[in-house]
């Protein structure tokens, strides 16, 4: 009589080392597992909850300045270093890993308003209200534990007006300053190599396009956003909005797009080729947005606002993905995304720089392959079921400080009231006499050639 028995080769079921994992043989027949959707939904729900549990975004604060931080610059060639300038004229270089000052650059008399670093990471350019542009040598090593004092700038150029903004062109010796006008400087020349003037308004912020280095965008106090082209050595176009744009940032992965942080609590993403309407309006802040910086991946950007919060938006998201706040953080004047897209740094009125994780619940440090796989799976599942009410609720839920919560409620009612009024006005006017303007166009007054 033949007896059927399960026969397996021992090689498949024995481990070579004690640390080895047992190989699991699975039958992937869907008929055997009919509950997969339910299982995955539950996992998504649990992942969403776990994410909330592990959300610990603040890594630490960098204390040292004695006045509000007005500007920051990241070193494009060195991940750990970040420069900050304060309203008392102090410029510091921080080591983000140890969270301490490694170098101080003394020289400015008034507030420092702009900082930028050359692409090779060797020259720091600062400018301020004392009408001077200073070039500093960036110390290359961080070994010494005590702070280096640098009193001697590489160059000091004094100019006609108080500077408000400075930015360095990608991979060249040229940087631009903004104040009463836009000046293009060369590292080695004491006078600007080019001057752009269009209108009389003060330039508030200025950014070079990192992808297309010859294109420059500025925002000015006359509520305008202006584009310049260095090759044509001429301004190109201006768009005037209803409120001032405090900061501007180009998307590093999409050279045609930039986002403007506006005084009216919103951010507006524009296509540089079509300035008559914003591509996307990012709303959630309850007070003026002070600064904006794109993640180097181009998929997200971080904003700092006068409402004492830092928010992270998706490049195409109408609402923020994340909000960061602490009890002690005051008005945020400047924010930066780190060069590897993993951290966010904010500088605020309370003289502190704060280091945050870009993903609040991300596990830092080295992940084992299994851990990484698991994390990826949970993220994927969560992403798949994000539209279901429970998962959505948990993922979206944020605890807000009371003033912000109330302000948001107030804002909502105001917007709603406005909308209702508009609706009624339209209902009572002759048909066709009023036109409905999309939200993306509503805040734009004019595009000037």
């Amino acid at each position: 009589m033949k007896v059927k028995v399960i026969s397996r080769s021992t090689d498949d079921f024995t481990r070579e080392r004690s640390q080895d994992l047992h190989k699991v043989f699975r039958n992937y027949d869907p008929n055997l597992r009919t509950q997969e959707k339910a299982i995955e939904y539950t996992r998504a729900l649990n992942a969403a909850k776990l994410e909330k549990i592990f959300a610990r975004p603040l890594i630490g604060a960098m204390d040292g300045h004695i006045d509000a931080i007005s500007c920051m610059a990241k070193n494009p060639n060195h991940l750990k270093g970040i420069f900050s300038g304060s309203m008392d004229g102090d410029i510091r270089l921080w080591d983000m890993a140890t969270r301490r000052t490694t170098c101080r650059f003394n020289g400015h008399q008034g507030p420092v308003r702009g900082l930028t670093v050359s692409t090779d990471g060797n020259v720091l350019v600062s400018c301020g209200n004392d009408c001077s542009v200073k070039l500093w040598k960036v110390p290359s090593t961080f070994e010494s534990s005590d702070t280096v004092e640098d009193d001697e700038p590489l160059a000091n150029y004094v100019w006609k007006y108080a500077f408000r903004a400075v930015d360095h062109q990608w991979e060249s010796n040229i940087f631009a300053t903004g104040g009463a006008q836009v000046d293009i400087w060369d590292h080695n020349r004491s006078n600007p190599v080019n001057i752009f003037e269009w209108g009389t308004a003060t330039i508030v912020s200025l950014r070079f396009n990192p992808g297309e280095p010859n294109v420059l965008a500025t925002s000015a106090s006359d509520r305008s956003i202006t584009l310049y082209d260095l090759r044509m050595s001429s301004p190109a176009r201006k768009v005037i909005m209803k409120t001032k744009t405090n900061a501007i940032c180009w998307n590093p992965m999409e050279p045609m797009n930039f986002t403007a942080a506006n005084e009216d609590c919103n951010c507006y993403s524009y296509d540089a080729r079509k300035l008559d309407e914003a591509k996307c309006v990012h709303q959630d802040h309850v007070s003026a947005v002070m600064d904006i910086d794109y993640s180097p991946t181009g998929r997200e950007f971080v904003t700092g606002s006068y409402d004492r919060t830092v928010r992270i938006f998706r490049y195409n998201g109408g609402h923020s993905r994340e909000i960061y706040h602490t009890k002690r953080m005051q008005r945020v004047f400047c924010v930066k995304y780190s060069c590897d897209g993993t951290y966010v740094i904010s500088g605020s009125d309370d003289t502190n720089l704060r280091l945050w994780k870009a993903n609040a619940s991300e596990q830092l440090g080295v992940l084992l392959p299994r851990e990484r796989k698991k994390q990826e799976y949970l993220d994927a599942v969560k992403n798949r079921y994000k539209h279901l009410p429970d998962v959505k609720r948990i993922v979206r839920h944020r605890h807000l400080p009371k003033p912000i919560y109330k302000a948001a409620g107030l804002r909502r009612t105001m917007v709603e009231a406005e909308r209702r009024k508009d609706e009624r006005r339209r209902a009572h006017s002759a048909p066709g006499s009023t036109s409905v303007q999309p939200f993306r166009k509503r805040r734009i007054i004019q595009e000037i050639e």
Partner: protein
Amino acid sequence: MAETKVCEKKRKSLSSAKAAAVESKKKARKFERKARREEKKQRRVHRPGPRLSSSFRKEIGIQSPRDNAESNDDFDDEEERVRGDVFEYEEQVAEEETKKNRRFDPVDNYEYELPDDFEDEDVPSDDEERHLNMLHGITGMPLQAFEGGEKKKVIFSSVQRDVSDGKISIQDLLDPLHGKPGYSDLRKRIDQLEKKPMAVQPPLPKVEREKLERKVAYKHSSKDITKWEPLVKRNREAPTLYFDKDVNLGFSTVGAIASVFEPRTEFEKKMASLTRDPEVMEAHLKDGAKLLELNKLTVEDVKDRQGRLAKMRSLLFRHEMKSKHIKKIKSKTYHRILKKERLKAAVSNVEMDLEAAKEEAKKQEYKRAEERMTLKHKNSSKWAKRILKRGLDVQDEGTRAAISEQLNQHALLTRKMNSMKDSSSSDDDSDDDNDETDSEDVSKLLNKAKEKIVKVLEEKDEITETGVMALPFMQRGLKKKKEAADEEARCALEEYDLSLRQLDDNEEGNVTLKKTSGRKVFGTPGKQAQETNNQNKSDRGNSDSEDDFDNAEHVQSGFEADNVSQELQIQPDSLHDDPRQKSVFKTFDDIVKDPGPKTTFEVAIFASDSWRKMKTEDVVNVNKKKQATAKQALLPDPTPEEEVMYQNSNSDTDEETVEGDFSFNPVPEYELPSQADLVHRAFATDDVEAQFEKDKLDVLNEENPEPEKPVLLPGWGQWTNVQKKNGVPSWMLEEHEMAKKKREEALKKRKDANLRHVIISEKTDKKAEKLLAKSLPFPFTSKEVYEQSIRMPIGPEFNPAISVRALNRPEVIKTAGVIIEPIKFEEVDPNENPDEPKRIIQNKNSSSSKNKRKSSKSKKSSGSKVSKN
């Protein structure tokens, strides 16, 4: 047009002149002159160029012999050649030409032709030069002294005029240079310059100008930016973007790895010494010829090899020949012997080793399978069919034997198959086989069943008392079950006994029954059959109301009233049999309907079989099963008294009445009722509409429940009768009213509020609601697409390891610590797969940039040192 023509001509002439300039300036000039003469004709009407006053002309000494004598616009050739078309703007017509007031003498002949032999005075001819040289040689004075005095004067005067007047043409400046080297070049350039229209407009205001500039700048820059579009699109649409560091993975090809291979072990070294023999290497490098030389074999080797080959060939040939020879042998005995030998050898082989045995078994198996496949043993082959068609009797002995063998084989196999099947099916078969059964068989069967039940009862529980069964509650449960089964079996046993006894009685009663069957004389036999059928149906479920309906339906639709009455009359036949038998069948039916434990089930099968046989056997037995009460309710016609009477009367009287009935009511013709009528009859008893309305009301009440009526609160103010006096508090009443109103509103809002014949359930399942998206998520355009997108699971339990990674890959993969640079331009390959993850390598030239940085650093540092110093 004319002008351009002129220009062209001139250019031609000029070029030709330049070509020959060095050797024969004069000739060229002559050419030019000719050309110019032709031009002049055209220029008469429209002549560009400055119009110098005659006085000025005189002063600068551009004089021609005809200048004074003839009209002013007749330039001499020399002058025109020099001036050419220098100015193209038009001045006003000269006063002389206006002919205003006839102030000037009219000139008849404008077209003055120079004589052919005309020569310009001013042009220093070769002869003159020679002459001058000669003079110079003789006198030893400088050349200038001998040159024409007039010309000298002109030059001086012109220079003086320069200062005083301030109105000089380029022509004036050019003149003195005439004849100097490079003059023609200069002149040509000026000509070219002046040929272009010099339409100079007043400059635009600065604002306008800047606006235009900006417009252009914007247009250009936006056009330039557009080049990024495909790249950005690709990156956006890529399922995954990697921001990777450029990692040097080392060798990518086998060749690269092999090129740096170093032999380490002894064997490798040996191999290397052979393969890397310089001689071989050299041969490889040079050409194949040398390689062949190296391949040389010794003569002995070749001989040896040839010998071996020849031997093999001859052996093969002999073997072939032998086999052919054997094949040719026709002797059967020889072959038989051969076969036997072979078989013997095989058997011995099998005995000898396992391998052969296995082989043999396989062969056998194969044979069997083949037989199964070919169905040789069935009479379905072509050959068999043909033989059967022709008839077996006609065939010879052998064929018949073959056929019979096949059939035998088939029978054998079918028997085998049957033996494999379970016993119940075989029982069925046997049941089917013996159609003709009689009461003896019935009794036999009943006996059999009895025996079985007894066996079951006697059987002790041999259930293993281990494992789960060992648990006390399981045992208890089992015991209970067993007791119940035993009880049932005992009942069945008793019934069997009774039925057996009854059967014996029936043996005698059969005679009388046969008498009763004589009733068939009166009715048509077909009807009788139908009737029995009908009764069978009604019998099967005589206790169930459903079946009653069924029965009624049958009666009403299938038969006429007479038929019904007939049925009624037959009914009493069944009444005279004793209720015990009836109960037997009833129990059998019940058992069939709900099979309990296994033992009872088996019994049931037996019982049902026997019942079926009895039914087919005689009508009377079947009729016995009739239950009068069921009929009573269904038959409308007869009055209850009659029925009672029927029931009480015995079989003989029944027969009489039957006869009487039939004689009184001859069968009317059968009419087919209309469809509507049929339907109406079929559903006569149930009021569908009312039922539906009730259902709808139920649904409404369930989904929007009616508010509870306010009642007096127990205990509250009861003993003081306060509540009774005041009634229910007003707020409660109000609340109730509100709730009522709300409910009505809700009912009105329902989708099926105005649809009388429809119930649309608006019940929301709160648990299911959690699992449904409230609205269609953004990028999806339809519900189906969205559902499709989340249909397949992505987890590692449901997918093989290879695809899990791809399914779970996030949109952006970056490594902490890798600096991500801004986008770099690259051409997008239109043919690349859009669903593939994209890699954007960072720090492509990290080493070079580092070096650069270092160098710049050193420079910077040196610079700073200098500044410090």
